[in-house]
Structures are given as C-alpha cells and as structure tokens.
C-alpha cells in the first residue's frame, strides 16, 4: 500500500476537507490527473470539475468551479474558487454558475475568451456528469 498524502481543500469561505487520502483525482486544465504520494512538485490551474479522493475506506467527491492546485510529494492543496461536497450541489447552484460563465464569455475577448469558453464547456459538462 502506498503512503497516503495530505489533502487540503480550501475555498474562500473556509476549509472543506483536510484529510489523508491515497490518491486524488484532479481536473487540471491540461487534462485530468491523479496525485499520489511522491508526485513531483507542481502548481496547476483547475477546470470546473469533480475532485475525487480515494481512501482505503471509501471515496469522497467534491465539485469545484475552478481554482488552483499545489501538489508535492506529501501533500495536495486545492485552492478552489468555490467548492461543494458533491451531495450538496444542487442543479440550481450549477445553473447560476453556468449563467455567470455565459455572461463572462460574452464580455471577454482575446485569450480571456478561450479561457471563458473552456470554463463554460466544463461547467455544462458537469451537469450531465453529475446527473443534475
């Protein structure tokens, strides 16, 4: 059994999770990845998506609307823009996020526009992924 890593999931409102996990699935902007013990130090941006932590006694799922992740050999800290426990996210909440992203897209230009487009696509994707 591999060593566990320390997971910290914080959003501006507070700490959502602070626990040991065997592996953490992350929706990194460049593609999904899994952080495990001994991972090379990395700072990356997150797309809206699901964070899945795997522990010996089960799986926890969280939904983030973007943010950053800092991974190193022993810990993973996620700085979420906004984060929810999967069970707590309702379709109305997701809908307001999608509306906000649409609004952002309509106002942005240039490289910002690509980012906004990706965000919106990811958020829309979440709706079906979560079955909401």
């Amino acid at each position: 059994m591999a060593d566990s890593i320390r997971l910290e999931l914080v959003s501006p409102e507070g700490v959502l999770a602070s626990e040991d996990a065997d592996a953490v699935d992350l929706p990194v902007a460049e593609g999904d990845m899994t952080a495990m013990s001994g991972h090379a130090a990395l700072i990356a941006t997150l797309n809206p998506g699901i964070i899945r932590t795997q522990r010996s006694d089960g799986i926890d799922e969280y939904v983030v609307t973007g943010g950053f992740v800092e991974v190193n050999a022993t810990s993973t800290s996620i700085l979420a823009q906004q984060a929810y426990r999967r069970s707590e996210l309702t379709s109305e909440m997701l809908k307001t996020h999608i509306e906000k992203a649409e609004d952002e897209l309509s106002r942005s230009a240039g490289s910002q526009r690509d980012l906004a487009e990706t965000r919106l696509a990811c958020l829309r994707n979440l709706t079906s992924q979560l079955g909401l």
Binding site: E8, V10, S11, P12, E13, G14, V15, V28, A29, E30, A40, A41, L42, I43, A44, T45, G67, F68, E70, N72, S77, L79, Q81, Q82, S111, L115
Partner: protein
C-alpha cells in the same frame, strides 16, 4: 428646576433608549460571532494563496516582463483609494476612523502632486468623504442588500477594479478597512491591492521547493492574480464586517451603561424634589395650624 412630571418623562425616555441600545448590543454580539467565524474561515485560503504567490514570485523574480498587475504600470501618478465602511452608523468611531485615514492619505497624495480617485464601499464612508472629495469619486458599492458577505460580491468589486486598471485609469490601488483585533480594538489598515505585493515571510518559507507549472508560469499568474486581488478584497470585507459588529457592540455597551448612570442620577433628582415638595407642603400645613 424641572417639574416632577418633566423628570418622570425624561426618565422614561432614557429608559426606552437604554432598551434600544441594549437590544442593539445583543444583536451586534450575535452577528459578531457569525462575522468572526466567517473571517476565521477565510484565513486558510488566504494563507495558501500567499504561499502559492510566493512560489510564483520567486520563479518570476529575474524575468523583466511579467504581468502588469504584479509589476505595475511603471508609474505612480494616479492612486485609487478604496474606502470600505459600513452601511449603518451607531458603531463608535468605526466609520470615521476609516474616513479620516482616507482623507489624510488623499490630502497627502494631492499635496505630492498625484491624482487621487476614490471608490467607496458602504454609504457611511461616502457621506463623510463627500464634502471634500465628491469630484474625485469614481465608484460606489452598495452593501445594503448584502446580508452576508460572500466571495461573489468581492469578485464583483475586484472585477470593477481590474477593468479600471486595464483601462489605465489608475496606477496604484489601496484598500482601507478596519482589521479586527478584538471586540474593543479595530485597527484601521491600508493594504495595497495593485500592484500585487508578495508577502516576504511566505517567500523564505517555501522558496526551497522547486515547482513545475502547468500550463506556464505566466498563464497561471494571469489567472491567479485576479483571484488574489479578489481574495484580498474579500478578506478585507470580512474583517471589516467583524470589526463593525465589534465596534457597534462596544459602542452600544457604553451607551447602555451611560443610560443607566443617567437614569440613576435623574431618579435621585426626582426623589429629592418629590421629597422637597412633600416637606414644603408639611411646613405649610404646620405653620398654618400654629398660626391659628
């Protein structure tokens, strides 16, 4: 000498004032607890954010370019002062300490030949600054409908400020707010928002780590900086909200105590003059009887 009736009315009026201040104090105490929890809840995020920023800043130290929000416009001729105050009064020196700080800084900058623009959050600060600086107002955020401060409102303010920055409307942005130290002490604080300053303490702590960046450092910075600014505003607003309730609580506590003292004094005066009236009547009766 006021009549007995006047005194009685006066005592009743102070008593009802005391009831109001007492109630306000208790409401503030309840709100304070919530505000304090929110301010504390936001702390881990701000700390992590500072750590990530420090890491990025270390790896960007040598590069000349780097985003404008970090490096600044290269000038410091136009200042944006953001005054964060409350929507309500009756909280001691809370609003005026911020207004005074902004006013002092604005005068100082104007004297140094800089252009000053002022943005207000909360109407109390706006009222106090209007007389001197109305022509320098560039924006106002109304918080009356905001029952609880969330990151969304901070994000909106941040967006507004960033739009102004991209349009070159200012070079340096500073936010003024009350930092919550304890219920009785709130420290008026000025914090520079743009260009983003990196905490030197976090730097030495984490600089030993060597990080990979995905996508690139500049792309991450581009996304991180606006969020860092939003977060700074968010924490400032939270601290301010906690400070407001703390200030109101102690102000109302004082008011309640003062009202109590006043009631005591008035009651003594009332009793004395009532007694004097009785004595006077007695003397009149006795001397009347003796004269017969």
């Amino acid at each position: 000498m006021p009549s007995l009736k006047d005194l009685k009315i006066r005592i009743e009026s102070v008593k009802s004032t005391r009831k109001i201040t007492k109630a306000m104090q208790m409401v503030a105490a309840a709100k304070l607890r919530r505000a304090q929890e929110a301010a504390e809840g936001a702390r881990p995020y701000a700390e992590r954010m500072a750590a990530v920023m420090a890491n990025l800043a270390v790896s960007l130290q040598d590069s000349e370019s780097g985003p404008r929000m970090l490096k600044g416009t290269g000038r410091d001729s136009t200042y944006l002062l953001i005054a964060a105050t409350a929507e309500r009064g009756l909280c001691g020196g809370f609003n005026s300490s911020i207004a005074r700080m902004v006013r002092d800084r604005a005068r100082e900058l104007v004297a140094a030949g800089k252009t000053v623009k002022i943005m207000t959050i909360g109407s109390k600060g706006r009222e106090q600054l209007r007389r001197e600086f109305e022509d320098r107002f560039v924006g106002h955020v109304d918080m009356t409908d905001q029952r609880q401060i969330d990151s969304a409102i901070a994000g909106k303010i941040a967006q507004q400020i960033q739009t102004m920055f991209t349009k070159d409307e200012f070079d340096v942005a500073i936010i003024f707010f009350n930092r919550f130290q304890s219920v009785i002490t709130q420290v008026p604080t000025a914090r520079q928002l743009i260009p983003v300053t990196v905490d030197a303490i976090g730097k030495s702590e984490t600089a030993s780590q060597f990080y990979n960046f995905e996508p690139g450092e500049s792309e991450i910075l581009e996304e991180l900086l606006p969020q860092a600014v939003a977060n700074q505003i968010f924490t400032a607003l939270l601290e301010n909200a906690a400070s407001e309730q703390g200030a109101r609580m102690s102000a109302m506590d004082n008011a309640t105590r003062n009202a109590g003292d006043m009631i005591d004094n008035l009651t003594i005066v009332y009793n004395r003059s009532r007694q004097a009236a009785i004595t006077k009547e007695l003397i009149e009766i006795i001397s009347g009887a003796e004269a017969l």
